[in-house]
């Protein structure tokens, strides 16, 4: 029997560290419990970004969240990437390292996307083997997140929650439960998000993600560009209850608000922690009063200021 959160602490309520807020954080030391960084943003950067990160890491707990591990790819693992990941984690004292259950490319390509795998025995054994290799290399458990997905494969033989549960147990890894992603995928693929959350091995859930998404009428897209909706807060309440609490982080990557607004949004989680009621939740695609078109809400513009 594992201890809760694989022995990791519950850090409380944190936010994703984005460079538009560096100055405010360093000048004001806001009372945020912890920060999560995007690993790749700092693995190859020295200079000022790294100098600022080091200062923030001296004041706050930091965890690392990656987008390029590509644990589901059939290409060989990238040990050059893993060496840089391990070095950064050691240097900044990251409490844990997470990434996604996905693949980003094959044949040496990188699509820069979080692509889904078929939920099959073959995928499971392939990914479990790779997680074990990565964990041996990093010398710590890997924490893997459920991404939002937009397709499913005819060859899948598991539900996503069955796959995650078996993966976590067989690889002995941790889980990052993105509650918004559960909701988005439940609408896109017509499954029950309550069954999803209730079925996971709760003692392996180290962290939660919360975020906003966009409703396009026919499907949802995980856009990280607005507040958390009520249905996701309801699912968060269930996740908190079933896990007895875990470190909770708000992601906001498009139309990023000022820091006070960002922090206030994650603090809403306090209203949903240690709440017992979760009766009658049903995930249905809400009606949209206005069709959303061509809303390019992505993080490119703050990560590369000269991007058009």
């Amino acid at each position: 029997m594992n201890s809760a959160r694989l022995g990791h602490p519950n850090l409380g309520l944190g936010v994703g560290l984005r460079n538009v807020h560096f100055g405010f954080i360093l000048d004001n030391s806001p009372p945020v419990d912890w920060f999560e960084i995007i690993s790749e943003n700092f693995m190859d950067s020295g200079g000022r970004p790294r100098y600022l990160l080091d200062q923030i890491a001296e004041r706050y707990p930091i965890v690392m969240h990656g987008v390029s591990l590509s644990i589901g790819s059939t290409d060989p693992l990238n040990f050059h990437y893993l060496r840089k990941l391990k070095l950064l984690a050691d240097q900044i004292g990251a409490l844990w390292i997470s990434d996604h259950l996905c693949w980003t490319g094959v044949m040496g390509a990188n699509t820069h996307d979080l692509l889904p795998v078929p939920m099959s025995e073959e995928s499971l054994s392939h990914i479990v083997r790779r997680i074990r290799t990565v964990q041996d290399f990093l010398g710590r458990p890997l924490i893997l997140e459920n991404p939002s997905t937009y397709i499913t494969f005819a060859d899948s033989t598991f539900t996503e929650w069955e796959f995650f549960s078996r993966m976590a147990e067989e690889a002995d890894c941790g889980l990052l439960l993105d509650v918004n992603n559960v909701y988005v995928s439940s609408i896109n693929h017509e499954f029950d998000p309550v069954e999803y959350i209730e079925s996971l091995p709760h003692e392996r859930i180290v962290q939660f993600h919360l975020a906003g998404h966009t409703n396009y009428g026919t499907h949802l897209i995980d856009t990280h560009d607005g507040p958390v909706i009520d249905a996701v807060w309801e699912l968060y309440r269930l996740a908190d209850k079933t896990t007895e609490g875990a470190s909770t982080l708000l992601e906001w990557d498009g139309k990023i608000p000022d820091f006070a607004t960002l922090h206030a949004e994650v603090l809403k989680a306090r209203e949903h922690i240690n709440v017992q009621s979760n009766e009658g939740f049903t995930a249905v695609l809400p009606e949209v009063s206005e069709v959303v078109t061509a809303a390019i809400s992505n993080p490119i513009h703050f990560m590369i200021p000269d991007a058009q």
Partner: protein
């Protein structure tokens, strides 16, 4: 009759070829690389990718296809794209597969 499952490497190579084709998903399905891995037409696509109640399999694939296009147009020199937020661009193009 149900076909035997494809191996993971084949599916990944096929999907990458389909969603990275500049001319769109239907052209991607017909591309040499996609056909070399899985010989399936747009009409047969649900043998590989399922549809939802609201979107066809091709429309669902286009969410990834247009996201790839949007990233490469918006930021061609960008090495590390944090991409989960990038699919909204695809919606206006979704009907023009």
């Amino acid at each position: 009759m149900r076909e035997p499952p494809r191996d993971l490497e084949t599916i990944e190579r096929w999907l990458q070829a389909v969603i990275t084709e500049p001319a769109g998903i239907v052209a991607g399905l017909a591309s040499e690389e996609a056909q070399r891995n899985i010989d399936v037409s747009a009409e047969q696509i649900e043998k590989i990718v399922t549809r939802s109640n609201t979107l066809t399999a091709t429309q669902r694939l286009a969410i990834y296809g247009h996201a790839y296009f949007a990233r490469n147009v918006c930021a061609p020199s960008f090495r590390f794209c944090y991409t989960r937020s990038m699919r909204s661009f695809s919606i206006s193009l979704l009907l023009n597969i």
